[in-house]
């Protein structure tokens, strides 16, 4: 490779840093949505790079369903403490308590959808005019057409048919009062890019991404971790399994995969040979073919 050529990881990194810096330049009060998952950890890492040696000039916000694997929260708190970030927690439990959201019923009950209400509330309460997130276009069909800078109306809604054209690297963050933007700095990354980058940069991630033994059961062909938040049916047998998670979301709807990959190298090898997308383990997307698109229109991440 010629000396004036970047590797794909360096080019993706440079692009993401550019986007994050544009956000700070174009918005008054941005926030980085932080789930504690690998994509948001990578975003935060990129934000630290973007402003070094200064501190990251915006807070992180975790929209907390309350249904977490404990490892995720421990990891989150340690990272915040070590890097001196400012963390805001938007609580889905609180939205429910205040009567703004209603808990779903039944064995498949999940708080995933309720995150939208809490997120939009928190954006309004904190007067955020831009929420950055770690969504990637390769995750799901409806995301393939998402912009880096995604305009939301004053109800936080996304209109897929009326998106601003996005040319070159010139981002238009102009908006009216009450409107906000969602910005996705790692739009162009794939799951593989994320893993390679985590390895290349030696980024710390929660332990549940690595193979471990955990009490699990199988529902609709998906391995689910047993937690206090999910009711199991009588037919569902809970037993210890060797698994790891490919994404971290609400514990009630995030599936695990049977895996012995215990190091980043092994994970990369596994991802390279896997034949199922990472969202394939998420029961929230399976509900209907256009499930993600519907949630996004309402204001989901």
């Amino acid at each position: 490779m010629g000396s004036y050529n970047l590797t794909h990881l360096k080019e993706l990194e440079s692009e993401a840093i550019f986007v994050i810096r544009e956000v700070v330049a174009q918005f008054e009060n941005p926030v980085l949505l932080f789930s504690g998952g690998k994509d948001s950890i990578v975003c935060y890492h990129l934000a630290r790079k973007a402003f070094y040696p200064a501190k990251v000039p915006f807070p992180l916000m975790h929209v907390d369903t309350g249904h977490n694997f404990p490892e995720t929260i421990q990891f989150r708190d340690k990272l915040i403490e070590e890097t001196g970030a400012r963390l805001i927690v938007g609580s889905v439990q609180q939205s429910i308590d205040e009567g703004k959201s209603t808990e779903e019923k039944g064995v498949n009950a999940s708080r995933n959808k309720l995150q939208t209400v809490t997120l939009l509330d928190a954006i309004e309460a904190n007067k955020f005019d831009c929420a950055m997130g770690g969504a990637r276009r390769d995750e799901e069909k409806a995301r393939a057409k998402e912009r880096f800078f995604s305009h939301r109306d004053d109800f936080g809604q996304w209109d897929p048919k009326n998106q601003r054209p996005e040319l070159w690297n010139t981002f238009n963050g102009k908006k009216n009062m009450g409107e906000h933007f969602r910005v996705f700095p790692i739009s162009n990354w794939t799951e593989m890019d994320i893993w390679q980058y985590i390895l290349a940069e030696k980024i710390d991630i929660p332990s549940i991404y690595f193979s471990h033994t955990r009490d699990c059961f199988v529902r609709d062909g998906v391995i689910m971790g047993k937690t206090d938040f999910v009711e199991t049916k009588d037919t569902e047998e809970v037993q210890p399994m060797v698994v790891r998670f490919r994404t971290i979301g609400d514990a009630t709807c995030t599936g695990a995969v049977a895996s012995t990959a215990a190091t980043l190298e092994e994970i990369i090898e596994e991802v390279a040979s896997t034949r199922v997308t990472e969202r394939g383990g998420r029961s929230d997307d399976k509900r209907s073919e256009a499930a993600m698109e519907d949630r996004k229109k309402e204001g989901y991440f």
Partner: protein, 420 residues
């Protein structure tokens, strides 16, 4: 696995073709043969194909994003797809080919290194072929690959192919693009896409995938004219970095080295590069498209929108801009109209002083009588900006040669400008 990914680079390409030329099939084929399609994606499209009573799994469904579009069975927006081989990561900007979606094609083309233009071997050059070629050339895509598709339907005939290539060579000589290639393929059967065709032993060139993997892209960026538009000023204001004042941005051209004498625009002050900083430590040189932070030897007042350049190689500093505009607004471009403008990290306003002519993007014919510039039209205009821009010709630098126009009432991006 060896760590080949630490040596991979990134190629962005667009695909264009008329409806039914086989664009979706080709993309599906590239994804499928490079093993970038997952079982659950395959399952999902299988279900849809079954439901619609289609005989084969329709690979085209893989590339249809949003529900309305799925229902209408057409692609209307730009959709981005990803795949990788051990050599390269690829980003496809998949755009619709109809004339009423020119703005989408322009958007997809704006960041591309390479354009794939599909031609149905049975039909030859059609109006769309010319239009797509012109857009690729206008947007400065450095490499064009014409894929002559459906060769299976013309008996893999070398004669048909040669005649088509002759026509295409005549036509493409008029384009700005210097690297133009031709490949006979069958997207449906897979000939010359990833695997070499057994039926077309007469073709001595590379397969499409091999071309994508090996086309030289390092020089697609300008490494000659030093341009560093300032995005943010970094001031840590901590005891450790008390007086630190860094200029953050993405190199838009050239190679900057520590110790270089530089000039800041618009002030014209000169200084030297004291350091080029990154989170991973100081580096000796930086080139496009790296994101870095620079510090200078002297304390100069610099803010967002300023540009660091070399004194002996400056961009043009001007308030009068000649440009080709691809219009994207719902209401027509207004002569004497005022718009907001973004150029690199600089915000300004402008007035459209003159609409010189409209370009017929099927024939490249200039029409000086027709000055009604509606969405998807391309026109030559003169703009007058409220403050000077630091510009290069688009053909020389796609970063400092491009601008966007914004409607001040709706805040929508309504125009894409290529500076002449």
């Amino acid at each position: 696995m060896e760590k080949s990914y630490l040596n991979m680079d990134l190629l962005r390409f667009t695909t264009a073709g008329s409806v039914d030329d086989g664009k979706s099939t080709l993309i599906g084929r590239l994804l499928y043969d490079s093993k970038s399609i997952f079982e659950d994606q395959m399952e999902a499209i299988q279900q849809v194909s079954d439901r619609k009573g289609e005989e084969h799994v329709n690979l085209a469904l893989l590339t249809d994003g949003l529900r309305d579009e799925r229902e209408q069975g057409i692609t209307i927006d730009v959709a981005y797809r990803y795949f990788a081989t051990p050599q390269r990561k690829f980003i496809i900007a998949d755009t619709p080919g109809h004339i009423q979606y020119t703005r989408n094609m322009v958007t997809g083309a704006s960041t591309a290194n390479l354009a794939i233009i599909l031609i149905d071997a049975r039909h030859g050059i059609v109006e769309q072929t010319k239009r797509h070629s012109f857009i690729a050339s206008l947007l400065g895509i450095p490499h064009i690959v014409y894929c002559i598709n459906k060769m299976d339907l013309v008996d893999y005939s070398q004669e048909v192919y040669n005649t088509l290539v002759d026509d295409l060579e005549d036509f493409s000589a008029k384009l700005e693009t210097k690297d133009v290639r031709f490949i006979p393929i069958s997207a449906l059967k897979g000939d010359n896409v990833v695997h070499r065709s057994e039926k077309m032993g007469w073709f001595e060139g590379a397969t499409l995938m091999h071309t994508l993997e090996t086309v030289h892209i390092a020089s697609d960026h300008n490494h000659i004219d030093c341009r560093f538009p300032i995005q943010n000023v970094i001031r840590p204001q901590t005891t450790e970095h008390h007086d630190y004042r860094g200029y953050a941005g993405r190199i838009a051209g050239g190679v900057f080295k520590k110790g270089d004498a530089v000039m800041v625009l618009p002030s014209g002050f000169t200084s030297k590069i004291k350091s080029i900083d990154t989170f991973d430590g100081e580096i000796d040189e930086a080139f496009a498209p790296m994101s870095v932070t620079m510090t200078l030897e002297d304390d100069i007042d610099i803010s967002r929108g300023d540009m660091i350049v070399r004194e002996n190689n400056k961009p043009e500093v001007s308030q009068d801009i000649e440009a080709m505009i691809c219009w994207m607004g719902d209401s027509p471009l207004k002569e004497k109209g005022k718009y907001a403008l973004k150029h690199t990290s600089k915000d300004a306003r402008c007035m459209v002083k003159e609409i010189k002519y409209k370009v017929d993007i099927n024939t490249l014919h200039r029409n000086e009588a027709d000055k009604v510039i509606s969405s998807n039209d391309v026109a030559r205009v003169t703009l007058r900006t409220t403050s000077p821009l630091f510009i290069d010709q688009y053909g020389r630098n796609r970063n400092t040669g491009s601008l966007i126009l914004i409607d001040e009432a709706t805040n929508n991006t309504v125009g894409a400008g290529m500076i002449i």
